[in-house]
Amino acid sequence: MASLKRSFESDPFAQNISSKVYVRSTKSGKVQKIVREVYLRQDIPCSSKLCNACLKIAPRDAANRPIPFVLSEKPAGTSVFTQGHYIVPDTNAFLSAMDLFEQSSAFYDVIVLQVVLEEVRARSLPLYNRLVSLTKSEDKRFYVFFNEFRLETYVTREENESVNDRNDRAVRKAVKWYNEHLSKTSKKAPAVVMLSNDRDNLRKAKEDDIPAYSLANYVSQLKDGEQLLDMIPELEERDALIEKKPGQFLYPEHYTLSKMNTGVKNGLLHQGIFNVSPYNYLEGSIRVPAFPKALLILGRENINRAVDGDLVVVEVLPKDQWKQPSTQVIEEEAVTMNENPTEEGSDLISEKERKVLQEEAKRTLAKTTEGHALPTAKVVGVIKRNWRQYVGHIDQSSVSSSAAQGRKQDSVFVIPMDKKIPKIRLRTRQVAELLGKRILVTIDAWDRTSRHPTGHFVRSLGELETKAAETEALLLEYDVQYRPFPKTVLDCLPKEGHDWKVPASMDDPGWRDRQDLRDLLICSIDPIGCQDIDDALHARALPNGNFEVGVHIADVSHFVKPNNAMDTEASIRGTTVYLVDKRIDMLPMLLGTDLCSLKPYVERYAFSVIWEMNSNADIVGSRFTKSVIKSREAFSYEQAQLRIDDASQQDELTNSIRTLLELSKKLKQKRLDAGALSLSSPEIKVHMESETSDPIDVKTKEHLPTMSLVEEFMLLANTSVAAKIYEAFPQTAILRRHAAPPKTNFDELANQLRVKKGLDLSVESSRALADSLDLCVDPKEPFFNTLIRIMATRCMMSAEYFCSGTQSYPEFRHYGLASEIYTHFTSPIRRYADLVAHRQLAAAIEYEAVHPAVRSRGRLEAVCKNINVRHRNAQLAGRASIAYYVGQALRGKATEEDGFVMKIFSNGFVVLVPKFGIESLIRLRDLAEPEPAATYDAETYTLTTSGSREVKVELFQKVRVRVTDQKDETTGKRGVKMELVSTY
C-alpha cells in the first residue's frame, strides 16, 4: 500500500514545501486546527542595489520590466558601521518607537520583514498603517522582505516554542541570511543590523553572532542621536514585574482575558467605554447595556489604570459602596501638585487625594439614606487601550532645578491638554528645551507599580500660545487629518485643472442623462466669503398657479469616483473642518472651491431636486435629476436680505427669492407644528483683522430670515432624498437619525426647573418638549429661554449617520427635526455622507449603475462609524478653535459682562456669558483669599459662602462677572477667567 502522506524524501520539490500547523480560536468560541502549506521560493530579491544576483532572478512585472530595488547602494553609516548599514527592526521596535522611524534625520534603508509587518498589524492597526505608509514613501527606502516565503529565511516552529519566540528567531535568521548574502556582493558590503528593544532577543542574537542593538544603543551611534534618545521607551523586560516585591504594587491586577470574557458573557462583569468626568479626574463613568444609567467609577484604585476612551471591563461594587456623583470639582493638578516624578510614593492615594475623597465620603454618607446613590463599579481589566498621541506641556513644578540645565535624563510630568487624561511621566534629556513648549507624547505603559502612566516624547509643536502650535495641537487633539493631500489623491483630479469647463457639445459623455437647466434663474445664498458653494436655489411660477422650486447641489460624485485614492482619503477625513482662521478640506481645493463649487456666472454640473408646490407649500410632485446649471448670482445672507427688503428691486431674480422666502416660512411653520425643536447653542463669531488675522472682536451671530430660507429648503431636499434612496435601497441607504433622548437625561434639568423656577418640562415627545421649552420664559430675563434651550440641547443624544439595514423604520426618526426619515445630501463638498447619498440617489434614478461600494452594508457601516466620529471631532475642534480665539481676543482686556449660572458644585459654579458664548468655572477659592467657607444645598441648588466673602449663588441666577484672559496653568491654554463681581 502506498502511503497517502506526502513523502518528503521522494519529492524533488520537498524542500520548497513546508507547512504550518496551529490552533485558531475564533471569536464565536470555535477552536480549529489550521494547516497551511507554505511554498517557499528562492527568487524573492534582497532588493539591495548592490546585489546583481538577485536582480537577475527577481520576478518581473507584466511588461517584463524588473521591479526597481529599494535599498540604497551607499547606505548611511554609523560610528560602528562605517561601511554603511541596513536596519532590520523587530516587532517591538516598531511598536514602541514608530515615531523614531518617521524621523527624517535618520532611519533610512530599513528592511521590514514580513513577519514583523504581520505582527505589527495584529497588535496595532494605526501603527501598521503608519508603517505601510513608510514603506510606500520613496525617500525613506523601506523595503518589505517576504522572509516567510524565502526558502533560506523560513523557520518552522519548534516544539514548546511560543509564537513570539519563533518570530524573533525568524527575524534573527533573516538578519543572518542578509549578512551572508550581502557579503557575497562585495568586500565592503553594508552591515545588516537588527534593532530590538527586547532583552531576550538581543541576548540570543549575541549568542548567534548577529549584529544587534537596542534602540537606545543604536541611536547613540548616530550623529544627532541625543535628540532622538527621548523618543525611545525603556528596554522591555518580560520578567520585570516579578523582580519587584508584591508590596510595591499600587494597583490591583487586571483579570485575564478569558476570565473577563466569561464574566461578561455571564453578566457578572460589564464591558464598556471608560469615560472620565471633565470636572473630576477621580470620577469616571461607564455606560453598559445592563444598566439604564451610567455606572460610576470613583477613585484611583477603582479606576485601576484605565484611561479615558479605553474599552474596559468593570465589576459592580456592593450596594453599601454606592455613591452619589460628585458635586465637587477636583482637578488633578490642584490635588497632586507637588508630586515628585522620580520617586514613586508607596501609597496609591496621596494624603491630599485622601482628604478630598474623605470629604466626599462624608457628604455622601449623609445622603445615602435618601436613596440618591448610584451604582458604582471598579475596573477589573482593560480589553483594548485607546491610547493615542497626546498634546501637553511639561509641568514646571515637576522639573528639578538641576534638570533644567543639565543634559542628563530626568523624569518630568507632562500635563495633557485634555483634562481627562492623567499626568504622564516622561523621561527626557531635553527638559530645558521642552519647557514652555507644546509637545506631543504617547503613553507606553502603565504598570501596577506606578501611580502615573509612563510615556515618551514624540515631537515638539512649538512655543506655547503661538498660533501655529496651538492650531496644530488642536488638530492633533481632535484627530483631524491635516496633512496636505498626497500625490495619489491629486492624481485623481481632472487634468484640465482650473480650466475645466462643462463640455460645450451636448454629445459629450458628461452630458449623458443630464438635464439642461442653464436657462433657469438660479442663485446661491451663503455666508460671507464662502468659497465652497454646495447649493443653489431657484423658484418660478408655473402656469397652473403652482410653483416650481429647485435645489441644486454641487455634483461632486461626478468628480470623485468610488474607491479611488481621492474617495478613500475623503472617506477617512469624513468632513471639512472649519477653524476660525483655517479650513481643513475634505476634498482638494481645486474641486471644493472651483470645479464643484456652484460659482456664479459659470456653468457647473449639479444634482437637482425639483418640486412642484402649491402656494401652501404642499408638495405636488418631485423629481431628481443630474443637470447643468448656471448660477446668476452668489449672494451672502445679508445681501439677499437687503435685496428682499428693498421694494424697488422688482427683477425676476429678486422676486423668485421672495417666493422662496414665503414658501420657506410655510415650510418652517409646518415643521414646528409637527414638533421640530428649536434648539440653541451659543454661537459666536470672531472678527479678525484682515491682514494679520489676529482676532479683534467677538460677536454673537445674528440670525437672518434668509438663513432659514436656505435651511428649510435644504431640510426639504434632504428629507425627499432620504425617502427616495430608502425606497431604492431599503437595506443600504445612508441615512441620519436623531434618537429620542432617554427621559432620564432630562431628570436633572426638569428637577432644577421645578425647584428654581416652578416650571414644568414635559419630555414625552419632541412636540411636548418644544411646547414646554416655549413656556420656559422669565419675563425679566429674555435670555433665560435660550439658556434653557442650551441646557436642554446638552441633554440630548447626538444625531448619527447609519445604514438603513441596521435599524428598524421607527428608529429612523429624527427627533430634533421631527422628521420620519432624514439624510444629508446638500453639502457633498464638505461632508462624505452627502457624497455617498449622491451616489445612491444617482443609482436610484438609474443614472448610473450601483457601485459595490454603495451597496455593501459592511462597508457602509464602517463609513458611518468613521464619519460619525469625524463629525463630532470636527465640531469639537471648531469650538475649541473659537474658544482659543476668544481668549486671544480678550487678551489684555478686562470687561464686565452679565452671565448666568449653569451648573453648581459644592466648591464652585459654572457661569455662561452669552455675549462671548463662553462658559467658565468659578471656584470658591477664586472668590476671595483665603477661600471662604461654603454650604451647598443640593436640594435647592444654592451655594452660600461665609467668612472672607459672603455671597449666595443659585442656579440660573444672573450674575455680573469680570472677564479677563488668563493662561490656564494646568492645560497651558490661554482661556478666559471669570471673577464674580456681584450677583443680581
Partner: protein, 391 residues
C-alpha cells in the same frame, strides 16, 4: 448489508468450506491459522486538517479511513433529571471548586459510517456504527476525556469511511482504523483555568493526545488517568462447529454457525505499573510478556449470512439423479415435499445445510474467553497496533 450479503458459492462449495473449517485444526481457504489476522498496512496522520486520522488496508484490498474532528461545545445543563444527588453535587461545587465532577455524555460523540454503495440509513450501516460507538461509550470512561470544564466540552466527530467496496464484513477493519485514529487524535492544550470560557494554546505541537502516551507521563503528570488507556477494539469472531476462527473472510463468514462482535478495552492500572518501571515506550519485540489488562466491553451476535444460503439437496431426493422420476400426480408431489423437509432437517454428510437455531452457550463462552485471555488475539492485535507510528 455486508454480513448478510449473498456469496456466490454453490451449496456444494459451501458444504466443502464448512467441512474443512470443521476439521481439527481447521483448514482456512487462505491457509491462515484460526487466530491469525489478515496482514494489514496502517498509517496515521494522513489527513492534516483533522485532530487525528488513520488509514488501514487489509491484504484483501479493503481499505478504510477514519478522521477525528473536535469542536468546542457548550455543555447544556441537564434539566431532564434533576435528581437529588446532582443538586447535592452542585452545592459541593459552590463550596469547593476543586472537587469538580468530571462527567461525560454520550451526545458528545457523533459517529458516521460510510460504506460505498449503501445508504447511510441502511440497517447494516446503522448497526455497524451502533456497534462501534457502543464499544467506545460502553464504560462511560471515554466521554470523560472530552470534558473541558463544567460549562464546556469537546464534541467529537468520528467520520469512518470504507473506501473500497465491502469485500468482507468491514467491522474489524473499521474498528481497528478508528482505534488508530483515536490514538493519534490530539486536542488543543487548554490554557484557561476553572470554568472560564476555554482558551487554547495556539501551538499545535503542544496539543496533548486524547489518549496520553506512557512516554509522555512526565509532562502530563497531573492529567487525570482514566481507566482505559487505549480506545477499544471490536473483533469479529466466528465459530464453525467447535472451531473458533478470528477475522473471517467473506467466504468463511458465509458458512459460520455463529458470528460474534466482541469489543474489548484496556484498563490502564496494570500497564501503567509495568511501563513506569521501563523508561522506553513499549516495543513490540519486548521479551517479557507484559499482557494487556483487557476487559470485555460488549458482545453482539451477528446474523451470519450462512442462514440465508440455499440448502443443498441430497442425491437421494434430487430428481436430476433419477429420484421420483415417475411421480406425476399431486398426491405424490405433496409427499415429496414432506420428504424434502425431513431430508433438510437431517444432516447429510457432504450436503450443505444452513445452520439453524441459536449458538451454543459453551461455544460463545469459549469465543469470548479466547479473545480475552492473556497472550490471546486481542493482546496480539493491540501489540501489533502499538507498532504503528502515530506521528
Amino acid at each position: 448489508m455486508a454480513s448478510t450479503q449473498h456469496v456466490l458459492l454453490s451449496p456444494a462449495e459451501l458444504a466443502y468450506l464448512h467441512a474443512s473449517l470443521s476439521l481439527t485444526p481447521p483448514i482456512r481457504p487462505d491457509g491462515r491459522s484460526p487466530t491469525q489476522f489478515r496482514p494489514l498496512v496502517a498509517e496515521t496522520g494522513i489527513l492534516p486538517g483533522t485532530n487525528g486520522s488513520a488509514r488501514i488496508c487489509f491484504a484483501d484490498g479493503t481499505e478504510a479511513i477514519v478522521g477525528v474532528k473536535a469542536e468546542v461545545e457548550r455543555t447544556r445543563t441537564r434539566h431532564d433529571f434533576p435528581s437529588l444527588d446532582e443538586s447535592a453535587e452542585d452545592d459541593d461545587d459552590l463550596d469547593d471548586n476543586q472537587n469538580e465532577v468530571i462527567k461525560g455524555d454520550n451526545d458528545w460523540v457523533e459517529m458516521t459510517v460510510e460504506i460505498p454503495g449503501y445508504r447511510d440509513d441502511d440497517a447494516g450501516t446503522v448497526f455497524l456504527s451502533a456497534m462501534l460507538s457502543e464499544a467506545l461509550l460502553a464504560d462511560g470512561e471515554f466521554t470523560k476525556r472530552l470534558w473541558i470544564n463544567q460549562r464546556f466540552h469537546w464534541k467529537l466527530y468520528l467520520d469512518i469511511l470504507l473506501i473500497s467496496p465491502p469485500l468482507s464484513y468491514p467491522l474489524p477493519l473499521l474498528s481497528l482504523t478508528t482505534h488508530l485514529a483515536l490514538l493519534a487524535a490530539r486536542l488543543p492544550r487548554l490554557k484557561s483555568e476553572g470554568d472560564e470560557d476555554p482558551l487554547f494554546d495556539d501551538d499545535w505541537a503542544a496539543a496533548p493526545y486524547l489518549y496520553p502516551r506512557p512516554s509522555e507521563k512526565g509532562s502530563k503528570a497531573t492529567a487525570p488517568a482514566p481507566a482505559a488507556a487505549r480506545p477499544p477494539v471490536t473483533l469479529l469472531v466466528m465459530a464453525v462447529g467447535n472451531n473458533i476462527i478470528f477475522d473471517p473472510s467473506k467466504e468463511e463468514l458465509a458458512v459460520a454457525d455463529v458470528a460474534l462482535a466482541v469489543s474489548v478495552g484496556e484498563s490502564s492500572s496494570s500497564t501503567t505499573s509495568t511501563t513506569s518501571s521501563k523508561p522506553t515506550a513499549m516495543d513490540i519485540d519486548t521479551e517479557e510478556t507484559k499482557g494487556h489488562n483487557l476487559r470485555l466491553l460488549s458482545v453482539r451476535t451477528i446474523d451470519p449470512p450462512s442462514r440465508l444460503t440455499p440448502p443443498g439437496i441430497p442425491n437421494a431426493s434430487n430428481s436430476a439423479y433419477g429420484a421420483n422420476a415417475g411421480a406425476k400426480d399431486a398426491e405424490k408431489k405433496k409427499q415429496q415435499q414432506e420428504q424434502a423437509r425431513t431430508a433438510e432437517s437431517e444432516a447429510v454428510e457432504g450436503v450443505w445445510k444452513a445452520p439453524r437455531g441459536g449458538a451454543k452457550t459453551l461455544v460463545m463462552a469459549t469465543m469470548v474467553q479466547k479473545v480475552l485471555e492473556k497472550g490471546g488475539v486481542a493482546d496480539e492485535v493491540l501489540d501489533a497496533l502499538d507498532g504503528v507510528d502515530l506521528n
